[in-house]
């Protein structure tokens, strides 16, 4: 029993706790200047979501991940059905729809789709490690990627849909695919990008164009980018101090409690604070890579790879967009951004990683 416990990665858990607490501090700071009680409601909701996340994470952790893999296709199609349902609901209600409401609790299926996607791909690639060299066999995993990708992109939730792509390629890479084949696919993907352009909603196209030139839309996305840069930049080395960011407190930052919460961190804690947060994230990622390396089982390796690349990509895109280095695509910052579905799914993803790490000696 004690030997098993040794395999439980406490470092990851501690880092997440610290990040979550930092997140709460800044959720308070970002909501304080709004009408009374908004911050209270938000913090209670965030803590409740965390508790639900820990509960769900414990379940994910305690079931042997290979059993989860056996069920992964069932989950996968159930998830696609839910995503499709969200779309139909959206069509009926005439507008963007990302939420399903069950018994008064709304959740975003696309957030959970990311985890189930990792399981399904791991299950597929793990079983076929020899035959993946064959070009025809790559069609199937591409199909596994394509269905949820288009369902989520059509919602429209471009950010979440895009996350699936690097996760998919990282897992393909780790599965041992011929690098030439992989590069060929990435190349083909790049070539089809202009084609994908047609599927984007107008506001999504605009966001990408705005990223290329923020001056074309100084009122919408451009405004957010400019204000976010001013906030982070004005934090300088040590920041203006918690609760003292003027950009934040004077309501210059839109969406600063969700996608743009890192701007508040940057303004109030400065470069030092940002570096600490980055470091904490990096420790989690690095521990994940260690789990990946030490696991002999290919299934386990693939799951760990999926979670690691998922978290890395989200952190990279989110922080990159707040400092104006990457386009605004609407992705949350794991464990910090306000939002129940995002927090719960991030905790579940890490639980999956811990699950692999905990059981690695047996394979």
């Amino acid at each position: 029993m004690r030997r098993q416990f040794k395999n439980f990665d406490m470092v990851i858990v501690i880092c997440i706790c610290v990040i979550f607490i930092i997140g709460l501090l800044f959720l308070y700071s970002a909501s304080k200047s709004l009408e009374e009680n908004v911050y209270e409601k938000r913090m209670i909701k965030q803590i409740l979501s965390m508790l639900i996340g820990v509960f769900a994470g414990t379940i994910v952790f305690s079931i042997d991940y290979r059993k989860l893999l056996d069920l992964s296709y069932l989950f996968y199609w159930l998830m696609n059905f839910l995503l499709f349902f969200v779309l139909v609901l959206g069509a009926i209600r005439l507008g963007a729809q990302r939420w399903i409401s069950i018994g008064g609790i709304a959740f975003q299926p696309s957030e959970f789709a990311k985890i189930i996607f990792i399981l399904a791909i791991a299950s597929f690639l793990g079983r076929r490690k020899e035959s993946i060299e064959n070009k025809r066999n790559i069609i199937k995993p591409l199909f596994l990627l394509g269905v949820p990708f288009f369902l989520i992109a059509a919602q429209p939730d471009l950010g979440t849909a895009l996350v699936l792509i690097p996760v998919f390629f990282a897992m393909l890479f780790i599965s041992g695919i011929n690098v030439k084949v992989l590069l060929g696919f990435i190349g083909a993907g790049v070539m089809t990008t202009p084609f994908l352009w047609h599927f984007l909603k107008e506001y999504q196209r605009k966001r990408i164009l705005v990223f290329l030139n923020p001056n074309i839309d100084p009122l919408g996305a451009g405004y957010t980018i400019i204000q976010s840069k001013v906030a982070i930049g004005s934090g300088q080395l040590f920041g203006k101090g918690w609760l003292s960011g003027t950009q934040n407190q004077l309501n210059f930052l839109p969406e600063r409690h969700t996608d743009f919460i890192f701007s508040v961190v940057g303004e109030e804690w400065g470069f030092v604070g940002c570096s600490i947060v980055l470091l904490l994230y990096f420790i989690i990622i690095y521990r994940g890579i260690i789990i990946m390396r030490e696991t002999k089982d290919l299934y386990g390796k693939l799951i760990a790879c999926g979670v690691v690349s998922l978290l890395s990509f989200q952190i990279f895109i989110n922080i990159g967009m707040t400092i104006g280095l990457l386009p605004v695509v609407g992705l949350t910052l794991p464990f910090i951004s306000y939002g129940g579905s995002s927090l719960i799914s991030s905790i579940m993803a890490v639980a999956l990683l811990l699950n692999v790490g905990y059981r690695k000696p047996y394979f």
Binding site: S33, L34, E35, R93, L94, G95, A96, A170, F173, I174, G176, K201, Y203, N215, D217, P218, L219, Y223, I226, Q227, K229, V230, A231, I232, G233, S234, G235, Q236, L237, T246, Q247, L250, N251, F252, G266, E267, G270, F271, C274, S275, L278, Y281, F282, I285, Y286, I289, M292, R293, C305, V308, S309, S312, I315, F316, I319, G320, I323, G324, L325
Partner: protein, 583 residues
């Protein structure tokens, strides 16, 4: 090995972020710090005017006017208590209301927060003159919808309402904002997408006390698209006045194209009340139907009534087409018709004697049609009624149209849980019983007969900006032209014969054909119908008049229709036909 490559990629991503943060916070940090302290950017919206609406002759029937709004930039308001006292005094609003608004303004201290909108020009000028004493007070203008013809045309144009929370969350992606108005009925609703402009805005740099220093960038508002209607607003106005205090509706249509020249539903309302703050009581009156007469209900398309004798046209066509009777078939009218124990009466107690279909139409004899209906059977009547567009929407391009009710034996079994009796057929033959039609359906049928069997889809929008809307749809019914001729002969005599029931509709300059109708209802006073067209051979204008509780159609409705036809001549819709001289 591969894991190392992955780690390498991730590490480079983190280094990239690290470098980015270093650049923004350390290298450029001082610049941004300066910007955040001294220059703050604010966003000021520029409202886009909605598209205008024109009538067929290019008269503006829906316009935009400038309204004056009072706002406050909280940061600049030195003495908000004094400002509240001043405004409450001059604008006649409660101090409590202003205090609440002022509290709202605290949350966005650099941006103007609206206190009161549409205060009128005189007050705006006065406040502007005194604004130096009250820093932070901002008088701004924005376009607001204006309906210069007030209640005339409201049933076509519709009205606007402030966007609600649910709609806002659904349409946010399409650029709607919390201050937007959205079409609630009529053209304003159906063509909201086109009429709506796209809001612009200015990004303005202000100094630390909120004064605007320079405009960083500006996005011009894009005006909504103009819409040109088929309506003639003068005719619309005339028809509205003809109905006066009576409830009901008048529709005037081109039978060969489906263009609607006028569509009036009474009582009406003034759409201006929904876009100003001065008429709140009237809005409540209209919305809660305080007078009990449903002003928002468009009687022309959203209400269904029994068509009464106008429906005899349909029965005639069914009878002639199925060859159950010809124009040589004579039935005797003794004043009543017996079916088992029941007796069905003709409106003329003494009876019409022996007559053929043309005479029966002319006199609107019930007994003739009772016998005809029984002879041809319910299935055929229903079939031809369907062909002529009953029981389904006409497809007119404003929202709220209903289907009415075309009963059939299967319908009755399903909904009333009773079999279809022969008595039901008898009732149906004179347009009574379960049959319910909308005025627009009835007009379209009469126009179809006038148009020698060509049926059209009624429409209101001619073009959007310069782009014509091609919605002329014609559908030729598969009927014998000879039969149509027989019916048209009857309809001509309804108006032009000595004993015709619609002789009140007769016009000097042009031959009018038509049919009267009386719709019995739960009350003792019947609804009156008249529907007809002119000129008789190749009609250019089709009219329907419906008067709620207007008594027998022969009198009131026909008289109104006559005046409508004469007005059509005056406004030039019947130019070059009959004896109408080109004016």
């Amino acid at each position: 090995m591969r894991i190392k490559v992955l780690l390498g990629i991730i590490v480079s991503c983190f280094i990239f972020l690290f470098a980015g943060l270093f650049y923004v916070q350390i290298i450029k940090g001082a610049d941004y710090k300066y910007k955040s302290e001294n220059n703050r950017m604010i966003l000021l919206p520029i409202e886009a005017p909605r598209g205008k609406i024109f009538d067929r002759n290019g008269r503006i029937i829906v316009d935009n006017r400038i309204s004056f709004d009072v706002s406050v930039v909280y940061k600049n308001a030195k003495d908000s208590a004094a400002m509240i006292n001043f405004l409450s005094d001059k604008l006649e609003v409660s101090k409590q209301f202003l205090r609440e608004k002022m509290d709202e303004a605290k949350w966005q201290p650099y941006v103007p927060t609206l206190l009161l909108d549409d205060i009128g020009k005189d007050k705006a000028v006065f406040l502007e003159e005194n604004s130096l004493d009250y820093p932070g007070l901002v008088i701004s203008t924005r376009p607001r919808r204006f309906y210069p013809y007030h209640k005339y045309g409201a049933s076509v144009i519709g009205y606007l309402g402030k966007i609600n929370k649910d709609e806002l969350s659904r349409y946010k992606h399409y650029g709607y904002t919390i201050r937007d108005y959205i079409g609630r009925s009529g053209i304003e609703r159906e063509y909201d997408d086109y009429l709506r402009g796209h809001q612009g805005g200015m990004q303005v740099e202000t100094d630390s006390v909120g004064r605007r220093k320079k405009t960083v960038s500006i996005k011009q508002a894009i005006k909504g698209k103009d819409i040109y209607l088929t309506i003639d607003i003068e005719l619309e106005k005339y028809c509205d006045r003809l109905l006066g205090q009576r409830n009901g509706c008048i529709i005037v249509m081109a039978p060969d194209t489906g263009q609607i020249y006028a569509l009036v539903s009474k009582p009406s309302y003034d759409p201006n009340i929904f876009v100003t703050n001065q008429e709140k009581a009237e809005v409540v009156n209209v919305l809660t139907n305080a007078n009990g007469d449903y002003p928002l209900l468009n009687r022309a398309i959203s209400c269904a009534y029994p068509p009464g004798s106008v429906f005899k046209i349909v029965v005639s066509l069914a009878a002639l087409e199925t060859m159950k009777i010809t124009d040589k078939t004579y039935f005797n009218c003794s004043g009543s018709f017996s079916l088992g124990k029941a007796s069905f009466k003709c409106w003329k107690k003494t009876g019409h004697g022996s007559q053929n279909i043309v005479e029966a139409l002319t006199h609107s004899c019930n007994v003739f049609f009772y016998q005809a209906g029984v002879k041809i059977g319910v299935e055929s009547i229903v079939h031809f009624a369907e062909e002529l567009g009953f029981g389904k929407k006409t497809g007119i391009d404003i929202p709220g149209e209903i289907k009415g009710n075309l009963p059939s034996p299967s319908w009755k079994r399903k909904n009333i849980k009773e079999p279809w009796y022969l008595g039901d057929t008898v009732n149906l033959s004179i347009g009574q019983g379960f049959l319910l039609v909308t005025p627009i359906q009835l007009l379209r049928m009469v126009a179809c007969v006038g148009n020698n069997g060509k049926m059209v889809t009624p429409y209101l929008v001619e073009k959007i900006e310069e782009v014509p809307v091609f919605n002329i749809e014609q559908q030729q019914l598969k009927v014998d032209e000879k039969n149509i001729k027989v019916i048209k002969d009857g309809l001509k005599r309804v108006v032009n014969d000595q004993n015709g029931t619609g002789m009140m509709a007769k016009v000097e300059q042009v031959v009018v054909s038509g049919k009267t109708g009386t719709a019995q209802n739960q009350t003792n006073v019947d609804h009156g119908w008249f529907s007809g067209f002119a000129p008789e051979k190749y009609p250019k204008v089709a009219v329907i008049v419906f008067v709620e509780y207007g008594g027998k159609g022969g009198y009131e409705a026909s008289k109104i229709a006559q005046l409508v036809f004469e007005e059509c001549i005056k406004v030039g819709l019947l130019k070059g036909t009959g004896n109408v001289e080109s004016q």
